[in-house]
């Protein structure tokens, strides 16, 4: 009987302690960190979500920028925060997978970031200018076979989504091309439109924005990209290349699953909001709505896909 009393008392105490921590969540403002500067796509998405999140969660959501190192400074900060759900951060794939793979010590590991949801994808495509002699991807491959390294492709960053797609595609097609990294998508698009590179790896929203001046040769999607249904996917051309920048939100390691669930639902509600979806589609984004478990599985899949590529090309 005494043992029963002790147990029930302990159980009761545990409940008392646990209930306010979880059932009450959230009860104070949540910091939503963007690991990039203001004005980028991650920022715009967070700004779109901010009022909707506040409405669902009933607390203030504060957007805070922590740029640097291509996002790594922000993610290194995230993993050091208290895992109580009051500090979350935007997460970007492939960044969170490729940085730890390519840098050795990026200040965090991919597994330490606990995904909440993924809500937006920007498929990566390979484009040429309208007046380019390359009508199809095969024209480009043939030319590259005859002239190794002469096809100059632009893209944003090294060990980035564009770079890894370039490496994967070159390997699959058995060709050699030159990759010229730029600091950010805007600069690579400018270099491309000015004719300083022959082809460009770019995100779907940039390709949609400049659609009237360019020809997209292929998209790294499983299904045809809705805004440009006539453009073939790399898969339909015989290349198993799936390339995309995916945006989502993540929490520090050890964040309780109950807290994650609350946030997951809030983010997925917005991701499934028809108005938000329509606006994303119009601007050239692909709305997605992957929950915490699906996001985790997707990230793990990407780690196994890219680890050998980075290992092979990083000398």
């Amino acid at each position: 009987m005494k043992r029963f009393m002790t147990f029930s008392l302990m159980f009761f105490l545990a409940l008392l302690l646990a209930v306010p921590a979880i059932a009450g969540y959230p009860e104070k403002p949540i910091t939503y960190q963007i690991p990039f500067g203001p004005g980028g796509q991650s920022d715009l998405e967070a700004r779109r979500q901010q009022p909707l999140l506040e409405a669902t969660l009933g607390v203030k959501v504060l957007v805070q920028y922590k740029p640097g190192g291509g996002g790594s400074i922000g993610w290194a900060t995230l993993i050091k925060q208290k895992p109580n759900g009051y500090f979350i951060s935007g997460i970007n794939i492939p960044h969170i997978v490729l940085q730890p793979l390519a840098r050795g010590n990026a200040g965090y590991t991919t597994e330490q970031l606990k995904p909440i949801a993924l809500f937006q994808a920007t498929p990566i495509g390979l484009a040429v200018l309208k007046d380019s002699p390359f009508q199809t991807i095969n024209d480009l491959i043939e030319y590259a076979k005859k002239n190794p390294d002469a096809v100059v492709c632009g893209g944003s960053g090294t060990w980035s989504g564009h770079h890894i797609a370039h490496l994967q595609f070159s390997k699959m097609a058995g060709i050699k091309m030159t990759y010229i990294p730029s600091k950010g998508a805007a600069k690579s698009v400018a270099a491309f439109l000015g004719g300083h590179v022959k082809a460009l790896w770019a995100n779907s929203n940039d390709l949609v924005l400049h659609a009237d001046k360019i020809r997209v040769l292929g998209f790294g999607t499983k299904e045809p990209f809705p805004n440009m249904p006539d453009v073939p996917t790399f898969k339909s051309l015989g290349f198993e290349l799936y390339a995309s920048i995916d945006r989502g939100a993540g929490a520090p390691p050890e964040t309780p699953d109950e807290v994650i669930q609350v946030l997951e639902k809030a983010f997925l509600d917005i991701a499934n909001n028809p108005d938000v979806k329509a606006q994303m589609k119009k601007d050239g984004f692909v709305p997605i709505a992957l929950g915490a478990a699906e996001s985790k599985a997707y990230i793990a899949e990407k780690v196994t896909e890219w680890a050998p590529v980075v290992k092979e090309f990083k000398k």
Binding site: G37, P38, G39, G40, D43, L44, R47, R48, Q50, P51, Q64, Y65, K66, P67, G68, G69, G70, S72, I73, A76, A102, R103, N105, A106, G107, D149, A150, V151, V152, G157, T158, W159, S160, H163, T178, Y179, I180, P181, S182, K183, A186, K187, V189, A190, A191, L193, G194, G195, H196, V197, L209, H210, D212, Q279, K282, D283
Partner: protein
């Protein structure tokens, strides 16, 4: 086009839009004036608010913020030697010495008037010739950026008149500092000594606050026990207003040249105002009849820098509005705002959405006038700030520097870096090293590196790096400019010789001839 411009102007002058614009300009000045808060941040914070407004009102407000911030950064540059944004570095060169002479109001008014003038010129260019200029801007490839960066570095020889060796040494230190962190191009990690926190590199604003602001505070309190921050008390008056404005209008060449430099550097995507104001200051100093006045406090120096960095703002909107390529970080935020309001940059902005687009351009124009008015009358208030006794002002400034260094990236490490640079800056000032070349190296290092790495990769693919980098029309012009700039000190020395002999009039006329020859 003209009727669109006129309807745009009417739109802006409607009471509700005008109020929104006024608020925007005012907030922009505040964001520009506080080091660590940037125009980009101000714009990004306000984008959500513009959702609730009509696209026209929203864009008018953003225009106000952008223009306001381009002037606001001059206020701390003049008063406490701290550029509010990197674009105002060159404003400190003469602005702060002016304030030290008790002429803070002269500097503030010159900055406001020059800012407005720069905006005005660049806006007219934007409204009249955006599409063809955007095409030219695309001709800037990696080699052009490389040579533009090198041209920027040749300014060091002007900045460090007296000891070019010290100047170039400091410039190299700046370039090494710029390499700290993740190389954005190659993805390698450099000079972090194993600390992942340093992967973000050294933030320019943090370095600016450290090198420019802290040393001045330290020297005002260490040993001297000065009661006031400036050596002389400022007495603002309406006479100053008239004096500065008339003296600036007597120098149309200086003003036009500065505005033109700002516009051109602005529309080349990615170059930004930091370089524009430096180049403009350098040219002002080079062509002036009394170059020795520069750096010791002349409104000409303040005007050259501010006209250029304000002209840069509309300039950077040229590739944005016509091509959808943002020429500066604030322009990137404006691109986001346009997209969220359902407008896509490109030809349709000037056709389908012409009414909104021209309202935006006109808002930039009207904002420029508001800056003159707010700046001129504000100068009575702002200039008195440095009359506050040092024992109150110095701690307040130190507090602001800490806040500003932290706010820029929400990173405590930046505050420590700022303090370390502050101490280095104090010591190097004592050794007669000017911090400007260090900061110039820090700004231009990544710029030159980017151009060089990309040129080498592209040149290899094209069959010859040297031919790829040199045999291009714009490259050729830039290389010539670099050579002229490097050889200038020799030419100037030759020009100065007769002056020493006492033939003042003759040397002035020779100077004029020399100028015509180089044209």
């Amino acid at each position: 086009m003209f009727d669109f411009a006129l309807t745009g102007l009417f739109q802006v002058l409607m009471p509700n839009h005008f109020l929104v614009l006024f608020i925007g300009v005012f907030m922009g000045i505040v964001f520009g004036a506080l080091p660590g808060l940037t125009a980009t941040m101000g714009l990004a914070l306000l984008v959500p608010f513009t959702f609730t407004m009509s696209p026209t009102a929203g864009l008018i407000m953003l225009a106000g913020i952008y223009v306001g911030a381009m002037y606001g950064d001059a206020i701390p540059a003049i008063l406490i030697n701290t550029p509010g944004t990197p674009a105002a570095i060159a404003t400190t060169f003469d602005g702060f010495p002016l304030a030290q002479k008790g002429m803070a109001q002269h500097g503030l008014v010159a900055a406001a008037v020059a800012s407005s003038f720069g905006s005005l010129v660049a806006n007219i260019v934007l409204a009249a010739a955006a599409p063809p200029l955007a095409e030219i801007s695309l001709k800037f490839g990696p080699p052009e950026y490389f040579w533009l960066g090198i041209f920027g570095l040749t300014i060091i020889s002007t900045l460090s008149s007296g000891s070019p060796i010290k100047g170039f040494l400091a410039g190299s230190i700046g370039m090494i500092l710029s390499a700290v962190g993740m190389a954005e191009l190659g993805g390698d990690i450099r000079l972090t000594f194993g600390f992942p926190e340093l992967q973000g590199g050294i933030e320019l604003i943090v370095a600016l606050i450290g090198f420019f602001c802290l040393p001045e505070i330290l020297s005002s309190v260490i040993g001297q026990r000065r009661t006031a921050y400036a050596e002389k008390i400022v007495k603002p008056s309406l006479g100053v207003l008239r004096e500065v404005i008339t003296s600036l209008f007597k120098r149309p060449v200086l003003m036009l040249r500065s505005a033109a430099i700002g516009t051109v550097v602005g529309f080349a995507p990615g170059a930004g105002g930091n370089i524009a104001s430096m180049v403009s200051y350098n040219e002002a100093c080079r062509w002036d009849k009394h170059p020795e006045e520069f750096g010791k406090g002349t409104i000409k120096g303040v005007a050259a820098s501010e006209a250029a960095n304000s002209a840069m703002a509309p300039g950077s909107l040229i590739p944005l509005l016509t091509l959808g390529i943002p020429g500066s970080p604030p322009a990137a935020v404006i691109l986001g705002a346009l997209m969220l309001h359902g407008m896509r940059p490109g030809a349709e902005l000037f056709t389908d959405y012409a009414d909104i687009t021209y309202s935006f351009i006109m808002a930039l124009l009207v904002a420029a006038f508001l800056v003159t008015i707010i700046g001129s009358f504000g100068s009575f208030v702002f200039s008195r700030i440095i009359n506050i006794p040092s024992r109150y002002l110095a701690p307040a400034i130190v507090f602001m520097t800490v806040l500003g260094s932290y706010a820029i990236r929400n990173n405590m490490l930046d505050v420590w870096i700022m303090f370390i640079f502050g101490i280095i800056g104090y010591v190097s000032n004592k050794l007669k090293f000017h911090p400007a070349p260090i900061v110039l190296g820090l700004i231009l290092g990544p710029f030159v590196e980017e151009g060089l790495v990309q040129s080498m990769l592209a040149g290899k693919a094209a069959g010859g790096t040297f031919t790829y980098m040199v045999y291009r029309p714009i490259s050729g012009v830039l290389i010539l400019l670099c050579l002229m700039s490097l050889l200038w000190p020799i030419f100037a020395a030759l020009r100065a010789k007769p002056k020493k002999a006492g033939v003042v009039n003759k040397s002035a006329s020779e100077g004029k001839e020399g100028r015509d020859e180089s044209r």
